[in-house]
Amino acid sequence: MTNLTITKALEKLKNKEISSVELTKTFLERIKKVEPKINAFVTVTEEEALRNAKDADKKRANGSDAPLLGIPLSIKDNFSTKGVRTTASSKVLDKYIPPYDATVVTKLKEAGMVLLGKTNMDAWAHGSSTETSDYGQSKNPWNTDYLPGGSSGGAAASVAAGEVIAAIGSETAGSIRQPASWCGVVGLKPTYGRVSRSGVIAMGSSLDSPGPITKSVEDAALVLQVLAGVDPLDATTSPLPVPDYLKNINREITNLKIGISEDYFEGVDTEVKQKVEDAIKVLEKLGAKIKKIKLFSPKYSIAVYTIIMRSEVSSNLARFDGIRYGSDRSFFAEEAKRRIMLGTYVLSAGYYDQYFNKALKVRSLIINDFKKAFEDVDVVIAPTNPKTALKAGSDEAKDPMFGELADILVEPSSLAGLSGINIPVGFSKKGLPIGMDIIGPQFGEQTILNVAKKYEDETEWNLKEPNL
């Protein structure tokens, strides 16, 4: 039962084949069984989950049909949850219990979710592996010697390991798509401003985008439907109306134009490249047209992203000054300190123009570069990550720029605030998942979900389960 998608679970709940309490208990047992191997959670909220499930069953009996009624989910530990400890995987917030819910959490509660717990992440979302978590590294369910990716590593692992039906993650640049790719699940990064950031402990404020990690494309659409929309508590959310994401999800893609930029395949592992090319062929068979385009090399994005994100980080973390929250600055681990220092440096008098301002200018160029590309194509397709999951503790993963290199292919679209979705497209010889990134324009969620769904219908990668 732990391999159910939201769609299937809802069917069973509606048909009274199962109650939410039973479903929840099944997942809580699964968590107890596999969590020692995976460490996907910082906090498991067993009591709250059972209470939520009971409520959900009662509501369903009373005729409620809320979109996620009784569905067990996990939420990344950087989303504020009223009354439930929220650490962002940093000991600085070890004792912090928020007095309010993030807007995303409010919406999920209204939609009837059952909260199973808060998932592990790189501390403050600083990383691409969960190795910077102060609560221990999470493991890749496909091979626990390997990293799950990050920063939403716990979230992706919790879905892949069948500990939850779906998870809520957040992406600044890659933090949903990259772990989804390494864990072989679906990860949707919505357009910046499509989903409210209110209550999400900020990393890069001009980049952060909350989104779902799921077992199917349809589930991603379902959850996005709940999350998306303008929020009076977040001035950067878009007032654009939210479309029905399920409506056109099965539309034929016969006239779809897919853009492929060679630079996004440079330095990519042969195995990864092969699987992505195979996947593109599947889409071609469905009628999509491939168009070679020339986007800026993603390598430029690394510098721009590094400067902008670290500047914002240095300012966002200033509030943890030791006066409140119970832990002083010595509780910051190395990665956060490195980012604070670099961000502080590039914003300092005399360096602002040289770094931050220049980064802003290049960011505008990247935005325009994509805009131009989307005049000719509907989506851009690239590997999500140049490699499959790395081994925990490998030298590569110890490099301070590791995260940026791991996320090189998703950073440009994050900087441009675009929508993107990772879908599983196969496995390496070692049995590690490979992911493909379908990038759409801003507010192109309908299109990328449609393309992803058509591919998923042709394949079965998303149904594979790790042996735990």
């Binding site: 950087n78 989303f79 504020s80 929220t86 962002a88 917030l93 912090y96 928020p98 007095p99 309010y100 993030a102 950031r197 209110s198 209550g199 999400v200 402990i201 900020a202 890069g204 404020s205 001009s206 009076p232 508590l233 977040d234 001035a235 950067t236 500047s311 914002e312 240095s314 300012s315 973390l317 200033a318 509030r319 943890f320 000054d321 006066i323 502080t344 914003l347 300092s348 008098a349 602002y352 931050f356």
Partner: protein, 438 residues
């Protein structure tokens, strides 16, 4: 003549009296409230909470800018000013850096001197530290209250002008009804910066190479004293051929002295950058036009009009336009008393008798003036005639009065009033009786 010319600039913070705070829905009126009772995740700076700008506050900031003859930046934005202080909940203050709402304005003083306004920008107030014995407590009620900062060019050369500028500024924000500008409640905070330029510097139009800032003064009188103190202190240093230190000082009212707070070496680098949580603020010419129309007649225009239309002397017009309610009261009284009383007489009545405009309605004031006027209308000769008649008819009473029974006067007064038959000023009648008895 003095060897040095004082060069003075001014930064003024004015708290707006909006209902809610700058970036959240909390009530903005914090004065006298139990500590930490009007707070929320946003103004407490809790992780994840985001600022959403208060449109009314921005409108008001633009109204102030327009009233100070500023150019309005139609494309504007907020920036983060990063610094550490325990009362600053986020570790940065949301302020404006390179695109303030208003720029390049001016205020003209009564002596004709023009004080240029460099910028008018919007920001948020901080919390408040309360020190109790060994411990320091933080009250976040004030955190996030809208604050407008008005910065002048270094155009003042003496403390008197500074004071007048401040009075004018306070008058304007009160006329706009956007701030109470109550000094005692800290609604208005003043920060003069002072340096002295030598004759050579003055001739070549060069600013001195140092600057002393005095922080957070909450009284016009203290600003005046602090500026004068600094002029004296800096003169003494310059006379010794030394340069005063570039620093931030405070004003000690008890000791009547400024004192050093922070030196240049600790000068802050605020690492300003665009606030990513708030999209740029865009106004159209049409929006600005709407705000312009909503601005009431301002004190300077009103004063000129009162002089011109009502023929008032500058002195009267100045007093009557100090407060918008007073000016309205005066105009209303003029309107009610039209054809019967001259504006100048109304002005006299209001100013000399210190009329409480909350208690006496304009129509009542008109009656009061008219009544007083009627008593003057009685002819002195006619009055004398009636008094003599009355005295002749009451000889006995007159004798009693002459022998020392002074209260008989009241009887005589009553008799005379009966004869007059009109409401006249009783004092004039009284005087006439005494005069005629003698």
């Amino acid at each position: 003549m003095n060897k040095y010319t004082p060069i003075i600039g001014l930064e003024t913070h004015v708290e707006l009296k909006t209902n809610s705070k700058m970036f959240c829905g909390c009530e903005a009126k914090y004065f006298g409230k139990e500590p930490n009772t009007i707070t929320c995740p946003v103004c407490l700076g809790l992780p994840g909470a985001l600022p959403v700008p208060n449109k009314t506050a921005i409108d008001w900031c633009i109204k102030i800018s327009l009233s100070l003859n500023c150019k309005i930046n139609l494309f504007s934005k907020f920036d983060r000013k990063n610094y550490f202080y325990p009362d600053l909940s986020k570790g940065y203050q949301i302020s404006q850096y390179d695109l303030p709402f208003g720029q390049n304005g001016s205020i003209t003083l009564s002596n004709g001197k023009i004080i240029r306004i460099r910028r008018v920008h919007m920001e948020e107030d901080t919390g408040k530290l309360i020190h109790e014995g060994e411990s320091s407590l933080i009250d976040f009620n004030r955190s996030g209250v809208p604050l407008v900062e008005i910065v002048t060019e270094p155009d003042f050369h003496n403390a008197t002008d500074v004071k007048e500028y401040l009075q004018k500024l306070r008058q304007i924000v009160r006329y706009l009804e956007v701030a109470d500008a109550d000094m005692e409640k800290g609604d208005m905070r003043l920060e003069p910066n002072i340096s002295l330029s030598s004759k050579q510097q003055a001739i070549s139009n060069k600013l001195p190479d140092y600057k002393v800032e005095i922080k957070n003064i909450n009284s016009f009188k203290f600003v005046e004293k602090a500026v004068n103190y600094e002029i004296k202190r800096q003169t003494e240093i310059l006379d010794k051929k030394e340069t005063p230190a570039q620093e931030t000082r405070g004003w000690d009212e008890a000791k009547q002295k400024t004192f050093s707070q922070r030196s240049k070496e600790d000068a802050m680098d605020y690492r300003y950058f665009p606030e990513p949580d708030i999209p740029p603020i865009i106004y159209t010419e049409k929006d600005i036009e709407k705000l312009k129309i909503a601005i009431p007649e301002l004190p300077d225009q009103k004063l000129k009009r009162f002089e011109k239309i009502f023929g008032l002397p500058r002195y009267d017009a100045e007093i009557l336009t100090r407060d918008r309610k007073m000016a309205n009261y005066f105009e209303e009284t003029v309107r009610v008393g039209k054809n019967e009383i001259k504006p100048k007489q109304i002005a006299n009545e209001i100013i000399n008798k210190k009329i409480d405009i909350k208690k006496i309605l304009p129509i009542a004031l008109v009656k009061q003036i008219l009544n007083a006027k009627q008593t003057i209308q009685i002819d002195q000769k006619e009055l004398d005639k009636i008094i003599i008649e009355t005295l002749n008819e009451n000889k006995k009473a007159v004798d009693e009065y002459k022998s020392g029974k002074e209260n008989v006067l009241m009887f005589l007064l009553g008799q005379a009033m009966k004869k007059i038959g009109k409401k006249v000023n009783i004092n004039i009648v009284k005087e006439a009786i005494i005069k005629n008895i003698k």
